[in-house]
Symmetry: C2
Subunit: 197 residues, 2 copies
DNA sequence: GTCTATATGAGGATAGAC
DNA sequence: GTCTATCCTCATATAGAC
């Protein structure tokens, strides 16, 4: 039920997704929903977003550490997202963005959940940049630019039904970050990096 | 009524905004709504998004041309957006993003309207870059990065209730774009640029 | 052209049998 | 613990008086 909810939230958003649709899609009777989630729709949505966010975190961490070059890593990230868009016929962008933007001003609990997930992704990117030799002050600005442009490109790609925005920013950030990359003594080498849990 | 609808759509989104709320907020009786907009909610939403998008276009064009330096222009853009967020207590981000992300997969007509508005903003940024001396191939990648990161930063800033993401990407893009800027013979000078309608 | 009253359905939530 | 039947509210949309 949680995974069904997560998928519906990602594609349609919070308000467009009804409890009827969730129970129908997941073959779950409506009665037991309120046994497992006494808080109703909002509590179920929180659980679904948290699960989807955690799953996405694992993918992000894996893809960022799949490439030795930090620019390649960012591009691999955007390529992964582009594939996800194509595979879902542009129905699935960021698993939390739709709910985040819908509930930022109206549902404080959901807003906080989304905020925590974004913070975690932010930290994953920062760690990868630190390993590439950037200093802490630089990692902050670069990771913000990366996360913001990725989220924005997901929005634009979904709206345009084209992966062009994702591909363009992936290629461009790769170029920019490799120009800015410290060329001397990265703080950790790639083999250490890859052994992270 | 259109402006009231536009504001509600921006803050709450399409599905969270009811016709009752619109008529109440704008002191309009419900009956005449369907006289002016026979298509109902969807037609009204289209009109509202188009109006909000056009208004925002004017602001974007004005602010991009308010600074002689292209990096300053981008930063002035993000500062304007940051002020809008603060003035609305983080309720108003991009006037079309919420509807765009909600309807990309479900309401083709609204999706198209949002797409057209984004295309227009894209062109405004491209024109500004061309005037700064960038060649057409470069303008495409830079304008995509700028629009994507601005949209993403708006999403993150709204979700975090902090203008930090907007300020960071504004400052960072300013730096990056000035490093990449052609130093010789811009195609048009600033006085010409400012005379654009 | 403008408004009131209402139709019709779907929303989230719950009570209570099993 | 699980499911069915149902409540109440609110949604969009319309009919018809003025």
């Amino acid at each position: 039920m949680i995974t069904a909810t997560a998928e519906l939230l990602q594609v349609q958003g919070y308000h467009a997704t009804g409890l009827n649709q969730i129970t129908q899609e997941s073959n779950t009777p409506k009665g037991s929903l309120y046994f497992h989630f006494p808080g109703g729709k909002e509590e179920l949505a929180i659980a679904a977003i948290e699960a989807a966010g955690a799953e996405e975190s694992q993918k992000i961490e894996a893809v960022l550490n799949s490439q030795e070059d930090v620019g390649d890593a960012v591009q691999a990230f955007t390529q992964l997202l582009a594939e996800g868009m194509l595979n879902s016929d542009f129905r699935k962008g960021c698993p939390v963005a739709t709910v985040a933007i819908e509930t930022s001003s109206t549902h404080e609990s959901l807003r906080r959940v989304c905020e925590q997930i974004y913070m975690h992704w932010f930290e994953l990117i920062e760690q990868r940049l630190l390993m590439a030799g950037f200093n802490p002050a630089e990692t902050r600005t670069w990771s913000t630019l990366i996360l913001a442009s990725v989220e924005g490109a997901l929005l634009l790609s979904r709206n345009q039904k084209s992966v062009q925005p994702l591909e363009i920013i992936g290629e461009h950030i790769k170029t920019l970050i490799n120009q800015a990359k410290p060329q001397h003594q990265p703080q950790q080498n790639f083999s250490q990096l890859n052994s992270v849990s």
